[in-house]
Amino acid sequence: MIMDTQTTTGIDVGKLIGSVERFRNEGYRLVQIGCTKVGEQYEVNYSFDKDYHFENIRITIAGDTEVPSISGMYWSAFAYENEMHDLFGIQVRGMNIDFKGTFIRTAVRYPFSQPPVTVTKGDKP
Protein backbone atom coordinates (compact mmCIF):
# COMPACT_ATOMS: atom_id res chain seq x y z
CA MET A 1 0.00 0.00 0.00
CA ILE A 2 1.21 3.51 -0.67
CA MET A 3 1.45 5.53 2.55
CA ASP A 4 1.04 9.29 3.03
CA THR A 5 3.80 11.50 1.66
CA GLN A 6 6.16 13.04 4.18
CA THR A 7 7.09 16.73 4.17
CA THR A 8 10.42 18.15 5.22
CA THR A 9 10.83 21.75 6.31
CA GLY A 10 14.19 23.34 5.60
CA ILE A 11 15.31 25.89 8.20
CA ASP A 12 18.30 28.04 9.03
CA VAL A 13 20.94 26.96 11.54
CA GLY A 14 20.15 29.99 13.70
CA LYS A 15 16.48 29.02 14.03
CA LEU A 16 17.25 25.41 15.00
CA ILE A 17 17.01 25.80 18.77
CA GLY A 18 13.75 27.72 18.52
CA SER A 19 12.06 25.09 16.33
CA VAL A 20 13.23 22.23 18.53
CA GLU A 21 11.93 24.03 21.61
CA ARG A 22 8.52 24.33 19.96
CA PHE A 23 8.47 20.56 19.38
CA ARG A 24 9.53 19.92 22.96
CA ASN A 25 6.74 22.05 24.39
CA GLU A 26 4.13 20.30 22.28
CA GLY A 27 5.22 16.89 23.58
CA TYR A 28 7.00 15.42 20.56
CA ARG A 29 9.68 12.78 21.08
CA LEU A 30 12.97 12.70 19.18
CA VAL A 31 13.13 9.92 16.62
CA GLN A 32 16.55 10.39 15.04
CA ILE A 33 19.19 12.88 13.90
CA GLY A 34 20.79 11.88 10.60
CA CYS A 35 23.35 13.38 8.26
CA THR A 36 23.76 13.07 4.49
CA LYS A 37 26.59 14.32 2.35
CA VAL A 38 25.27 15.86 -0.87
CA GLY A 39 28.02 17.19 -3.06
CA GLU A 40 30.13 19.39 -0.79
CA GLN A 41 27.36 20.25 1.68
CA TYR A 42 25.88 18.30 4.56
CA GLU A 43 22.16 17.96 5.21
CA VAL A 44 21.20 17.22 8.80
CA ASN A 45 17.68 15.85 9.41
CA TYR A 46 15.95 16.10 12.79
CA SER A 47 12.87 13.86 13.07
CA PHE A 48 10.13 14.08 15.68
CA ASP A 49 7.03 12.00 16.35
CA LYS A 50 3.90 12.31 18.47
CA ASP A 51 0.99 9.84 18.36
CA TYR A 52 2.28 8.40 15.06
CA HIS A 53 2.39 11.88 13.45
CA PHE A 54 5.80 12.40 11.86
CA GLU A 55 7.59 15.75 11.40
CA ASN A 56 11.02 16.39 9.91
CA ILE A 57 13.20 19.52 9.81
CA ARG A 58 16.44 19.92 7.91
CA ILE A 59 19.45 22.23 8.01
CA THR A 60 21.99 22.44 5.19
CA ILE A 61 25.51 23.36 6.22
CA ALA A 62 29.08 23.35 4.96
CA GLY A 63 31.62 20.98 6.51
CA ASP A 64 33.10 23.44 8.98
CA THR A 65 29.90 25.06 10.36
CA GLU A 66 29.33 24.55 14.05
CA VAL A 67 25.91 23.20 14.96
CA PRO A 68 24.38 23.92 18.40
CA SER A 69 23.47 20.84 20.38
CA ILE A 70 19.84 20.12 21.28
CA SER A 71 20.74 17.99 24.29
CA GLY A 72 19.50 20.74 26.60
CA MET A 73 15.97 19.87 25.51
CA TYR A 74 16.38 16.24 24.54
CA TRP A 75 18.88 14.52 26.84
CA SER A 76 19.16 11.47 24.61
CA ALA A 77 20.46 13.45 21.61
CA PHE A 78 24.09 12.91 22.64
CA ALA A 79 24.17 9.45 21.00
CA TYR A 80 23.23 10.83 17.57
CA GLU A 81 25.38 13.96 17.81
CA ASN A 82 28.50 12.00 18.80
CA GLU A 83 27.91 9.55 15.98
CA MET A 84 27.45 12.43 13.52
CA HIS A 85 30.74 13.93 14.69
CA ASP A 86 32.68 10.66 14.54
CA LEU A 87 31.51 9.64 11.09
CA PHE A 88 31.15 12.96 9.25
CA GLY A 89 33.35 15.41 11.10
CA ILE A 90 30.61 17.95 11.94
CA GLN A 91 31.45 19.99 15.04
CA VAL A 92 28.61 20.16 17.57
CA ARG A 93 28.79 22.79 20.31
CA GLY A 94 27.62 22.08 23.84
CA MET A 95 26.91 18.33 23.96
CA ASN A 96 25.96 17.12 27.42
CA ILE A 97 28.17 14.00 27.15
CA ASP A 98 31.06 14.69 24.78
CA PHE A 99 33.08 11.66 23.79
CA LYS A 100 35.56 13.78 21.79
CA GLY A 101 35.77 11.36 18.87
CA THR A 102 35.88 8.07 20.76
CA PHE A 103 32.22 7.02 20.55
CA ILE A 104 32.76 5.02 17.34
CA ARG A 105 36.40 4.25 16.71
CA THR A 106 37.24 3.73 13.03
CA ALA A 107 40.50 3.15 11.19
CA VAL A 108 39.96 6.23 9.04
CA ARG A 109 38.89 9.49 10.71
CA TYR A 110 35.51 10.84 9.57
CA PRO A 111 35.03 7.98 7.07
CA PHE A 112 31.68 8.97 5.61
CA SER A 113 32.83 12.34 4.39
CA GLN A 114 35.41 10.73 2.12
CA PRO A 115 34.86 8.89 -1.17
CA PRO A 116 34.58 5.10 -1.01
CA VAL A 117 37.55 2.72 -1.42
CA THR A 118 37.51 0.24 -4.32
CA VAL A 119 38.37 -3.46 -3.92
CA THR A 120 39.22 -5.50 -7.01
CA LYS A 121 37.03 -8.50 -7.73
CA GLY A 122 37.96 -11.97 -6.54
CA ASP A 123 40.80 -10.86 -4.24
CA LYS A 124 40.95 -12.38 -0.83
CA PRO A 125 39.08 -10.04 1.56
Partner: protein, 126 residues
Protein backbone atom coordinates in the same frame (compact mmCIF):
# COMPACT_ATOMS: atom_id res chain seq x y z
CA UNK B 1 3.51 -16.54 43.53
CA UNK B 2 4.30 -20.19 42.88
CA UNK B 3 7.23 -22.31 44.00
CA UNK B 4 9.22 -24.82 41.93
CA UNK B 5 7.14 -24.10 38.85
CA UNK B 6 9.76 -25.60 36.55
CA UNK B 7 9.79 -29.11 38.09
CA UNK B 8 7.00 -30.45 35.86
CA UNK B 9 8.74 -29.40 32.64
CA UNK B 10 12.17 -30.54 33.85
CA UNK B 11 10.96 -34.04 34.78
CA UNK B 12 9.21 -34.43 31.45
CA UNK B 13 12.30 -33.47 29.45
CA UNK B 14 14.46 -35.88 31.47
CA UNK B 15 12.13 -38.76 30.54
CA UNK B 16 12.19 -37.94 26.81
CA UNK B 17 15.11 -38.63 24.47
CA UNK B 18 17.44 -35.72 23.64
CA UNK B 19 16.29 -33.22 21.01
CA UNK B 20 19.85 -32.40 19.89
CA UNK B 21 21.54 -34.23 17.00
CA UNK B 22 25.20 -35.25 17.04
CA UNK B 23 26.31 -33.10 14.11
CA UNK B 24 28.67 -33.81 12.17
CA UNK B 25 28.38 -37.52 13.01
CA UNK B 26 24.69 -37.40 12.11
CA UNK B 27 23.53 -35.39 9.11
CA UNK B 28 22.11 -31.93 9.69
CA UNK B 29 18.39 -31.58 9.07
CA UNK B 30 17.74 -29.98 5.71
CA UNK B 31 14.75 -29.10 3.57
CA UNK B 32 14.55 -29.30 -0.25
CA UNK B 33 15.02 -25.53 -0.58
CA UNK B 34 17.83 -25.10 1.97
CA UNK B 35 20.70 -22.98 0.71
CA UNK B 36 24.03 -24.78 1.05
CA UNK B 37 26.44 -24.08 -1.79
CA UNK B 38 26.32 -23.12 -5.48
CA UNK B 39 26.89 -25.82 -8.14
CA UNK B 40 28.15 -24.82 -11.58
CA UNK B 41 27.55 -26.74 -14.81
CA UNK B 42 30.16 -25.79 -17.40
CA UNK B 43 28.45 -27.48 -20.32
CA UNK B 44 25.57 -24.98 -20.56
CA UNK B 45 27.20 -21.68 -19.58
CA UNK B 46 27.20 -19.04 -22.33
CA UNK B 47 29.59 -16.62 -20.54
CA UNK B 48 27.07 -13.78 -20.43
CA UNK B 49 28.38 -12.46 -17.09
CA UNK B 50 24.98 -11.75 -15.48
CA UNK B 51 25.86 -13.83 -12.37
CA UNK B 52 29.04 -11.78 -12.00
CA UNK B 53 27.18 -8.47 -11.99
CA UNK B 54 24.40 -9.62 -9.66
CA UNK B 55 26.65 -11.10 -6.98
CA UNK B 56 26.43 -8.79 -3.92
CA UNK B 57 29.81 -9.85 -2.52
CA UNK B 58 31.72 -10.01 -5.85
CA UNK B 59 32.64 -13.68 -5.35
CA UNK B 60 32.47 -14.72 -9.04
CA UNK B 61 35.26 -14.05 -11.55
CA UNK B 62 34.77 -14.89 -15.21
CA UNK B 63 37.50 -15.10 -17.84
CA UNK B 64 35.93 -15.38 -21.28
CA UNK B 65 39.12 -15.98 -23.28
CA UNK B 66 40.52 -18.61 -20.91
CA UNK B 67 37.01 -20.11 -20.51
CA UNK B 68 37.23 -20.27 -16.73
CA UNK B 69 34.60 -19.50 -14.08
CA UNK B 70 35.88 -18.97 -10.56
CA UNK B 71 34.02 -18.70 -7.30
CA UNK B 72 35.48 -17.68 -3.95
CA UNK B 73 33.59 -19.89 -1.49
CA UNK B 74 34.64 -17.68 1.43
CA UNK B 75 33.05 -14.60 -0.09
CA UNK B 76 29.88 -16.31 -1.28
CA UNK B 77 26.96 -15.60 1.06
CA UNK B 78 24.65 -18.17 -0.58
CA UNK B 79 21.99 -15.59 -1.37
CA UNK B 80 20.63 -17.42 -4.46
CA UNK B 81 20.58 -14.39 -6.77
CA UNK B 82 23.03 -15.91 -9.31
CA UNK B 83 20.88 -19.04 -9.44
CA UNK B 84 17.74 -16.96 -9.97
CA UNK B 85 19.14 -14.78 -12.76
CA UNK B 86 21.16 -17.27 -14.82
CA UNK B 87 19.41 -17.37 -18.23
CA UNK B 88 20.57 -20.89 -19.14
CA UNK B 89 20.05 -22.46 -15.69
CA UNK B 90 23.70 -23.50 -15.38
CA UNK B 91 23.74 -22.72 -11.65
CA UNK B 92 21.86 -24.71 -9.03
CA UNK B 93 21.76 -24.67 -5.25
CA UNK B 94 22.79 -27.77 -3.31
CA UNK B 95 21.64 -28.28 0.28
CA UNK B 96 24.96 -29.23 1.91
CA UNK B 97 27.24 -26.58 3.40
CA UNK B 98 30.79 -26.00 2.08
CA UNK B 99 33.30 -28.06 4.06
CA UNK B 100 35.66 -26.12 6.38
CA UNK B 101 39.12 -25.41 4.94
CA UNK B 102 42.40 -24.24 6.39
CA UNK B 103 43.47 -21.96 3.55
CA UNK B 104 41.34 -19.46 1.64
CA UNK B 105 41.24 -19.89 -2.09
CA UNK B 106 39.09 -19.87 -5.19
CA UNK B 107 37.50 -22.81 -6.98
CA UNK B 108 37.92 -22.81 -10.77
CA UNK B 109 35.69 -24.56 -13.28
CA UNK B 110 36.10 -24.77 -17.06
CA UNK B 111 33.38 -23.79 -19.45
CA UNK B 112 32.95 -26.50 -22.02
CA UNK B 113 29.97 -25.05 -23.84
CA UNK B 114 30.43 -24.62 -27.55
CA UNK B 115 28.00 -22.43 -29.42
CA UNK B 116 26.34 -24.49 -32.15
CA UNK B 117 27.18 -23.22 -35.66
CA UNK B 118 24.42 -21.19 -37.26
CA UNK B 119 22.98 -22.74 -40.42
CA UNK B 120 24.10 -20.71 -43.45
CA UNK B 121 21.56 -18.15 -44.57
CA UNK B 122 19.98 -19.12 -47.86
CA UNK B 123 20.05 -16.46 -50.50
CA UNK B 124 16.60 -14.78 -50.27
CA UNK B 125 16.61 -13.05 -53.56
CA UNK B 126 14.75 -14.95 -56.11
Amino acid sequence: MAFFEMVKTALRTVMQKPVTILYPLQAAKKTPISRGHVVFDGSTCISCGICLRRCPSQAIVLNKEAKSWQINRFRCVVCNSCVDTCPTKSLTMDTRYTAPAAVQGVETFTITYVKPARPEKKDESG
